[in-house]
């Protein structure tokens, strides 16, 4: 038994390299190795990024611990660093952006995929993709010179006189602030939602539309109750792509948010975001603790993106199951 097992093993061994060489010649193994290396490199870069953020932020992490997340004092001179105002600013501006951009983007995508002619739809989609390619500093300039004055003189007074009973729309109106940043982010992320959602909606099989229409659905009922639900997973994906962009956007936000590490209920008030504070203060960070705190903010932003992406996956998973299981 043993002997024969050894024999076959040895036979297999002597055969294996030859098979490998043969396949090497045909390119399979080379392709395998090279693509594996590329894939490993991507994972490696991500891991290195986290590792560096972790190492570089050690001073700040040791000094403040979990307190870092809940204190709102950011005083470099006194050596006091708290992440809360930045976390708040990032989340609030991203939320404003999504609240404005999702209906706008989804509506546009539905129009382009369902109502407009295919030719017009393609041309419009091309223009929308161009919008996505505009550098964010351009959006920032537009924000400063066009949007902020308009907000200060027109939009914010109007909001205050109509919805002023809400704390969101109270207080002095500066123009720059959470609302300005959220609005500029909305403009910047709309192309992502339109572009991806349009593709997903167009890809919905004809049979789904026809099934609804043949049951006596109106065109809108067929779209809203058959086509959109079918494309739901992809649409959610586009929204989270937009959210990821909004969370990390630096330049345009820092130009219009006011750059003031404060937490206010009013959307008119100036604030600050994580990405903006890192970009602004990195060059002038004096002292290791200051620098370390900024790096820790970077780590927080990374984790925030990570957690939200995880939630997105979870949402997609549960809606898929609910679509399958709920009545």
């Amino acid at each position: 038994m043993h002997a024969s097992a050894n024999m076959t093993e040895r036979a297999a061994l002597s055969k294996a390299p030859r098979a490998f060489l043969h396949r090497l010649r045909s390119g399979d193994e080379i392709a395998h190795i090279i693509t594996l290396m590329f894939a490993a490199l991507v994972v490696g870069i991500t891991a290195l990024l986290v590792y560096q953020l972790w190492i570089q932020s050690v001073l700040s992490r040791q000094k403040f611990g979990w307190i870092f997340f809940v204190t709102h004092v950011w005083d470099p001179l006194a050596g006091q660093f708290g992440a809360l105002p930045f976390l708040y600013g990032t989340l609030v501006t991203s939320a404003i952006a999504l609240i404005l951009a999702v209906p706008l983007g989804l509506g546009t995508a539905i129009f382009l995929s369902e109502f407009s002619t295919p030719r017009a739809s393609d041309i419009f989609a091309f223009l929308v993709d161009l919008l996505a390619a505009v550098p964010s500093v351009i959006f920032g300039l537009l924000g400063i010179f066009v949007m902020v004055p308009w907000l200060r003189t027109t939009v914010e007074p109007a909001l205050q006189s109509t919805l002023g009973f809400l704390p969101l729309f109270q207080g002095p109106m500066y123009g720059v602030g959470f609302l300005a940043a959220g609005l500029i982010l909305a403009v910047m992320v709309v192309p992502f939602i339109v572009s991806v959602s349009r593709e997903v909606l167009i890809a919905v099989p004809r049979e789904q539309r026809e099934a609804a229409l043949a049951l006596g659905a109106t065109r809108w009922e067929a779209i809203w109750k058959a086509v959109v639900p079918f494309a739901k997973t992809g649409i959610i994906g586009s929204v989270f792509l937009a959210l990821a962009r909004a969370l990390g956007e630096t330049m345009a936000v820092t130009m219009v948010i006011g750059n003031d590490p404060r937490i206010s209920a009013s959307l008119f008030a100036p604030g600050y975001s994580i990405a903006a504070v890192i970009a602004n203060e990195f060059t002038e960070a004096t002292g290791n603790l200051y620098l370390s705190a900024l790096v820790e903010l970077g780590l927080v932003l990374f984790m925030l993106t990570f957690v939200l992406n995880g939630l997105a996956r979870l949402l997609v998973l549960t809606t898929r199951q609910r679509g399958a299981g709920h009545q």
Binding site: E207, E210, L213, A214, L215, G216, T218, A324, G325, Q327
Partner: protein, 288 residues
């Protein structure tokens, strides 16, 4: 009756033959099932005259008359591209979902021209089942309830769903998993689910566009059995590529070729003693 005989448009026959054929059959012989008296309880459901359908510059149906009776199964056969699906889709104006589609001629449903009807109402009266099973990505229950919901029914949904699933002979197989995904069903079950979904809104006419082309023979037999039961309560028009299926499951058969109605007869007659040589050529498998 239209004065235009479908035979007029026949080509590829010598004129003597054409003449004798025309003499032998009155124009309405092809448009009206001749043996209607043999099927009591029927009324005329669709009266179609000079039906022409074109997509852009391409005319797919070249103008013919055909009448369809209630409470029987009418099969439409013909080789690929003969226009049989287009014919079916013109009956509930699904042709309109295609850009550049134009329909000429009159289609009367119970003496009312469907061109003037509200399309949503028309489609609630004339249900449709498609070639490939196309359930919504929802639960079995929600699939059947879809048509009821968009029609504003809110109460007794579960009874209506159960009734439709029973009519589609699917209830026994799915009654314990009504709230699981429709995609978990087999292809044949999905197709019966689509039939149940169409039946839920209680249509007077059920159009089926090659409903078994993606199914295995056992499931096909089940669906044919189902059609037999359903014709008591509605008018059924089925397009099929499968001649055996037409022979087994239908009462009348229409043979289309290149956008023209070649022959329209009681099914046994069409398959045993077809009067047109092209019908014979087709059913004996010489083309198509």
């Amino acid at each position: 009756m239209s004065s235009v005989s479908p035979m007029r448009s026949v080509n590829g026959m010598d004129s003597a033959d054409k003449q004798s054929n025309q003499a032998a059959r009155s124009p309405q012989k092809f448009s009206l099932p001749p043996d209607r008296a043999a099927y009591p309880g029927q009324t005329l459901r669709f009266k179609i005259s000079e039906l022409r359908v074109s997509f852009g510059a391409k005319e797919v149906l070249h103008g013919f008359d055909i009448d369809i009776s209630s409470n029987i199964v009418t099969a439409v056969i013909g080789p690929s591209g003969c226009g049989k699906s287009t014919f079916l889709r013109s009956l509930n104006r699904m042709t309109e979902t295609v850009r550049h589609a134009r329909v000429h001629g009159d289609i009367l449903l119970d003496d009312e021209n469907i061109a003037g009807m509200d399309v949503v109402r028309l489609r609630r009266r004339v249900g449709m089942v498609f070639q490939r099973p196309n359930p919504f990505p929802k639960s079995i229950f929600e699939n059947v309830a879809y048509g009821l919901r968009i029609n504003g029914h809110k109460d007794s949904l579960s009874e209506a769903v159960e009734r439709s699933l029973r009519r589609a002979a699917l209830w026994e197989e799915v009654k314990d998993q009504l709230h699981s995904s429709a995609y978990a069903l087999s292809g044949g079950q999905q197709q019966r689910l689509c039939i149940a979904r169409a039946l839920a809104v209680d249509p007077e006419v059920l159009l089926l566009d090659e409903p078994c082309s993606a199914l295995d023979p056992v499931t096909t037999a089940k669906i044919e059995e189902l059609l037999f039961q359903l014709k008591a309560s509605c008018t059924i028009v089925i397009v099929t590529h499968n001649m055996q299926q037409a022979a087994r499951a239908s009462d009348f058969t229409a043979f289309l070729l290149e956008g023209r109605l070649i022959e329209y007869q009681p099914t046994p007659k069409l398959f045993t003693t077809p009067s047109d040589p092209r019908t014979e050529a087709y059913i004996t498998g010489r083309f198509g």
